[in-house]
């Protein structure tokens, strides 16, 4: 029995001025039925590209190898019709900017019901009823009035709730949430996190949550993947991964964030910046910034190896980190 989403050794290259530019390398990742999985890493590491692959939204000319299966069906070879079936009822998405998913000139009601009438073949009345249910489910106050309102009449947090309601309209089994709370206040973020967790419990929705905030990763997800320069460098149960990282990059990300309460103690930034696609150093891509780098790191890309219960790490010193913990 496979996972709901099973990405296996996925590589993605985009057309570049000097030939194909490799963006993702050897990415393997699973999301089980009703599971909340986190994806983290610095800007440009390939989080959104992974999401776009799974939704068939890669830029034209993108080349993929490996496989990405949803409910046993290969996604990478789907035609337009096939994608239409998967999107909406199978996999849905919410973005950082909810305005991207909402048309400014149409009422919330029109947008929600249109979707259901087209994708689910519902009549107007049934669609209307379901739209009220959905807005209720995302805890929007006064759903009936909200249906008659336009997106700009809502605050950022409420708009994100409406976008989530839209994504849920066709009853998807997997929701991919790409930094849906990054632009929101912590108080509003807390509401969205609680909402996603409740949906998972009540409806068995699986969620892949993309974020660069390790606190959010910890608060919400059961299992996580840390990306660096287009690769998974560490994976495992989120709590264990964040309280005892087995990869220097995860440890460095943790060190760079505020740890609280010691005014005057500096944060520990990661020196330099991540390499751009096509400019990766030989061997481990993190070697140019890693405090533990040694000669062998530069000879070959370290593969993901077991590093504790249900855990993997792509680092030559993973066992030393395990012993040290």
């Amino acid at each position: 029995m496979g996972a709901l989403l099973d990405i296996d050794r996925l590589a993605v290259a985009l057309p570049g001025p000097r030939g194909p530019l490799p963006i993702l390398h050897d990415v393997s990742l699973t999301v089980g039925e009703g599971e909340l999985v986190g994806i983290a890493g610095e800007s440009g590491c390939g989080k959104s590209m992974t999401a776009q692959t799974v939704l068939g939204l890669l830029p034209p000319g993108a080349k993929t190898t490996g496989s990405a299966r949803f409910d046993g069906r290969e996604l990478l070879t789907l035609d337009r019709k096939g994608w239409q079936r998967v999107r909406g009822r199978g996999i849905a998405m919410v973005f950082q900017d909810p305005t991207a998913a909402l048309h400014p000139m149409l009422t919330v009601g029109t947008q929600l019901t249109e979707h259901m009438r087209i994708h689910l073949g519902m009549n107007r009345k049934a669609a209307q009823r379901r739209a009220v249910d959905l807005l209720d489910q995302v805890r929007l106050p006064d759903p009936e009035r909200a249906l008659r309102a336009y997106p700009h009449q809502f605050s950022g947090g409420m708009r994100q709730r409406v976008a989530i309601a839209g994504a849920l309209a066709a009853q998807p089994r997997l929701l991919i949430a790409d930094e849906p709370t990054t632009a929101l206040d912590v108080t509003v973020q807390a509401g969205i996190l609680a909402l996603l967790d409740r949906l998972r419990r009540d409806t068995g929705l699986a969620v892949a949550f993309i974020t660069h905030d390790l606190g959010v990763l910890s608060a919400l997800t059961a299992r996580s993947y840390v990306f660096y320069a287009g690769r998974v460098v560490e994976a495992g149960p989120t709590g264990a991964l964040l309280t005892g990282p087995r990869h220097p990059y995860t440890a460095a990300l943790l060190g760079a964030r505020p740890h609280g309460g010691q005014t005057g103690v500096a944060l520990t930034p990661i020196p330099g910046s991540p390499p751009a696609p096509g400019e990766l150093p030989p061997g481990c891509a993190f070697s140019t910034r890693c405090a533990h780098v040694r000669d062998e790191c530069r000879t070959a890309v370290p593969p993901l190896h077991p590093a504790g219960p249900d855990r993997t790490s792509a680092c030559v010193i993973r066992t030393e980190l395990e012993v040290a913990a």
Binding site: E42, T187, G215, S218, A219, G239, T243, P258
Partner: protein, 316 residues
């Protein structure tokens, strides 16, 4: 001694054809040399409106700002007198202070005081770049040739050029990712500590403010509802809103723990509730909260505006 004093400042925006918005409704705040004052609050609570007044970019509708004991009058950014250039601002968007079409070095030269003459001016530019951790070669390049984090460092170098004594930083790292955030924050904190500058650091990232501020002020709907030395504020928040903000911050732990949620939405400042402005969302609201609570001192650099924390009324 305080360097920057914000006294009973009100800011009213008058958008064309709409009701005026009272973005800041009576704020007192002070920044001393070598001190970092953090200002936190939800989107729309008036942080930027206050920042612009504090920096002398706009005039308050009431109240006043004093820098080094003298009132700050917004004369236009370029025509400020020698005193007021001592007050500089860093914005969330580095292009707010950098021109994309001019070389970095030229823009830094603009800010170097006139007393520095001849070849010393160029030397000062190199010094500024070095201060913010950029190579001297950056002077010949254009802002768009840098990453977001580097560009923000260049904007900080521009702010430092006139040798300010106070920096007002409005969400200076919000657009950056974690590791560039840490680099820029360390730079700012280092400058305050080494040069004895004062800094008003505005952010909606509580964890970050917790990390660096000596004193933290919490703003809700145009008012400071609580201010206290940062550690005290976190360990012992008095105002229910401060508590709610702190509890909403997601934390790293061995098991997933969802952060606490706060009921309701931030009201529109054009229709602020009468009485305590937080009352519609406050889990502790009681009848007295229909009246606005006064701000009372609760210790050194500490004050709170909540009826739960008032000296008991004297029984006559």
């Amino acid at each position: 001694m305080t360097l920057l004093e914000i006294e009973a400042v009100h800011v009213e925006h008058k958008p064309r054809g709409r009701a005026p918005v009272r973005a800041v409704a009576g704020v007192d705040l002070a920044v001393a040399p070598g001190q970092i004052v953090g200002l936190v609050g939800e989107s729309g609570c008036g942080k930027s409106s206050l920042a612009r007044v504090a920096a002398g970019l706009t005039a308050p509708s009431a109240g006043q700002v004093r820098y080094a004991g003298r009132p700050v009058t917004p004369l236009g950014w370029r025509r400020r007198n020698a005193d007021e250039v001592g007050l500089q601002m860093v914005f969330q968007n580095p292009y707010a202070s950098l021109n994309p079409r001019r070389a970095v070095g030229e823009q830094l030269l603009d800010g170097v005081p006139a007393e520095v003459a001849g070849p010393a001016r160029r030397a000062r530019v190199a010094e500024l770049l070095d201060r913010v951790g950029m190579p001297a070669t950056a002077a010949a390049r254009y802002p768009h040739q840098f990453s977001g984090g580097q560009r923000q460092r260049l904007a900080i170098a521009r702010a430092l050029a006139p040798q300010p004594r106070v920096i007002i930083a409005d969400e200076p790292v919000t657009a950056l990712d974690a590791s560039s955030q840490a680099q820029v924050v360390n730079l700012l904190v280092g400058l305050v500590r080494e040069l004895g500058m004062g800094m008003l650091f505005i952010s909606h990232d509580l964890a970050l403010v917790h990390e660096i501020a000596d004193v933290t002020a919490v703003m809700y709907l145009g008012k400071i509802v609580e201010a206290a030395p940062t550690r005290r504020l976190w360990e012992q928040p008095l105002h229910p809103y401060t508590r709610a903000l702190i509890d909403a911050v997601p934390r790293i732990s061995a098991e997933p723990v969802l952060p606490a949620t706060l009921a309701g939405e931030v009201p529109d400042p054009a229709n602020a509730p009468s009485g305590c402005r937080f009352a519609p969302r406050c889990p502790h609201a009681f009848d007295r909260c229909a009246e606005a609570p006064p701000t009372v001192a609760t210790g050194p650099s500490a004050a709170v505006a909540c009826w739960l924390h008032q000296p008991q009324p004297a029984h006559l």
